[in-house]
């Protein structure tokens, strides 16, 4: 793929930056799945953490090293953990949904801080993954993780697009505007919401696993509310219309963050904040609105 080839020419720091952006983008993709139904989770850091810790623990404790397999496990486990909460959360809307997910992620954060088998607040490192039975050489590992990540992301992006255009996807979109009518047309709002939450968890889990393998480290901080806030920001920045916009937005955020923090070490947070404000103010429908016309896609 074009992007994969470009990656070969990029400076290492940029391949890594995009790897992280794509991994985080997956979490935000999950948020968009929910946003299309009219709810925004403020605790996706939780599923990110679950995915990450799953991959990291399987790697360290069970000696499973295949990157692809670990990624899938991350997603699946995250979905499984999220599943029991889905029916409960499907009852909530607006700020209450946001706050309940936030509370859940903060409880997860507390537990991770506590459990010293999981490395406590310092977290722990994991070694280098393998891919389909091949060891990854030093100078290649970054690039290979990059290709893996963008491949997974692209696949998920495609699946997401297909889902968004499916009958379920359309009903989700309808739910956002008028739940009552959906019920009176014979569609189940809560069922749709629950499904979306589990799907979102799956995406988040994938992202978490990929990010952790690229970073080689995991810590409870990823479940803290500020992390979740950034995922939400990427989703809002992208808007709910275009899937691709999501990954563009994620890259943009990473670039802004990394350059501001190396060029204004003392005021990078301020720079980031101002950037957020400008975007929210002048791109109300997100980056996606730059090339997606109309409201229905």
């Amino acid at each position: 793929m074009a992007l994969a080839l470009v990656g070969a020419l990029m400076p290492k720091w940029l391949t890594f930056l995009i790897t992280m952006a794509a991994a985080n983008g997956l979490v935000s993709l999950g948020i968009v799945v929910l946003m299309r139904g009219g709810v925004v989770p403020f605790g996706q850091g939780m599923v990110f953490a679950i995915g990450g810790y799953t991959a990291a623990l399987m790697f360290n404790k069970m000696g499973i090293t295949d990157a692809l397999f670990l990624t899938l496990c991350g997603g699946v486990i995250a979905a499984l953990v999220a599943a029991p909460f889905a029916p409960l959360l499907s009852r909530y809307r607006g700020i209450f949904f946001a706050m309940l997910t936030l509370a859940l992620s903060m409880v997860t954060y507390g537990l991770l801080m506590k459990l010293e088998v999981l490395g406590g607040s310092d977290g722990f490192n994991l070694g280098r993954p393998t891919l389909l039975g091949y060891k990854l050489p030093d100078d290649q590992v970054g690039y290979i993780m990059y290709v893996l990540t963008i491949t997974v992301s692209s696949i998920m992006a495609l699946l997401a697009r297909i889902y968004f255009d499916s009958t379920r996807g359309l009903i989700t979109l309808a739910t956002k505007e008028n739940e009552l009518r959906v019920e009176y047309l014979g569609g189940s709002v809560r069922y749709a919401m629950a499904i979306n939450f589990i799907l979102a968890a799956f995406c988040g889990g994938l992202g978490g696993a990929l990010a952790v393998m690229a970073l080689g480290h995991i810590e409870p901080g990823v479940s803290f509310w500020t992390t979740s806030g950034e995922f939400v920001f990427v989703a809002v920045l992208a808007g709910w219309q275009s899937v691709i916009a999501l990954f563009v937005a994620s890259v943009v955020l990473e670039v802004v963050r990394s350059f501001s923090s190396s060029y204004f070490p003392n005021t990078w947070q301020m720079a980031l904040g101002i950037f957020l404000l400008i975007v929210i103010r002048f791109l109300p429908r997100g980056i996606g609105s730059l090339w997606v016309k109309g409201g229905t896609r």
């Binding site: 297909i162 499916s166 009958t167 379920r168 009903i171 309808a174 505007e177 009518r181 009176y184």
Partner: protein, 251 residues
């Protein structure tokens, strides 16, 4: 002849207000029943109880001999009861076609993660209905931009997707100017298709409309049924003239 809908001793109170007292109605296939009565007489409450939005305090409601009293709106809808709304409940951000496709999607027996909502069969079905309700010209416009009358029609067209046994129209012509009312009802009736097996129950204030389109009239007054007969007979009764049409004021 077998009743499509049966209400047996249905009672409903809101605090002190009696919204329904001992309602007993049988509606038969193919009937065009008009519910009339002044505001607060209990028409919409009755409709809401049929569709499961409200539960009766006592009594049951049967659809084709099945007790639907305790069911959720969704379940009742799947059994073939569809309704329109006094204020159209639409998806303003979506196009007319997509609104229809939402209705379609909801009626797909098996919801799917990959089956496109905009697949050709669905679009054909939607277009057919839009055509019957003379909405084709608005097909790809955003609902939010449409005039009230068109919304009313779309609201009903959506209700008709999935061809229900029983269709409940809540004041189909309310908020439509006097001269538009008749053309509007014509379109609706055309949309229903005269021969269709769909039984229609519509709440209506305009007696001319009732006279013209109802095969039967059920008149409500403070939760009671004060008349249930053909329009000619029902509209002529004193109670109806006193409490509904208001012709016998002050007697």
């Amino acid at each position: 002849m077998k009743a499509v809908l049966q209400a047996r001793d249905v009672n409903k109170k809101f605090g002190a207000v009696v919204a329904a007292s001992n309602l007993n109605i049988e509606i038969f296939a193919g009937e065009r029943v008009s519910l009339i009565g002044s505001n607060g007489a209990g028409k919409t409450t009755f409709v809401n109880m049929i569709t499961g939005y409200l539960k009766p305090d006592q009594g049951q409601i049967w659809l084709d001999g099945q007790d639907i009293t305790a069911l959720y709106p969704r379940a009742i809808t799947h059994l073939g009861v569809a309704r329109s709304f006094q204020i159209p409940q639409l998806y303003g951000e979506l196009t007319v076609l997509d609104n229809m496709l939402v209705a379609n999607a909801c009626h797909d027996q098996k919801l799917s993660f990959w089956l496109p909502a905009r697949r050709s069969v669905a679009i054909e079905r939607a277009d057919a209905l839009l055509d019957r309700f003379a909405l084709t010209e608005h097909r790809s416009r955003k609902v939010a931009e449409l005039p009230g009358g068109v919304r009313k029609l779309l609201d009903i067209a959506m209700a008709l997707t999935g061809s229900p046994k029983l269709l409940l129209l809540d004041e189909p012509t309310s908020g439509v100017s006097a001269e538009e009312k008749f053309p509007m009802m014509e379109t609706i009736m055309a949309g229903l298709g005269q021969d269709s097996a769909t039984t229609v129950l519509f709440v209506e204030h305009d007696m001319d409309i009732v006279n013209r389109y109802a095969s039967r009239v059920v008149a409500f007054y403070s939760g009671r049924i004060i008349a249930d007969d053909t329009p000619e007979v029902a509209l002529a009764t004193d109670d109806v003239r006193r409490y509904v049409t208001g012709e016998l004021l002050g007697e």
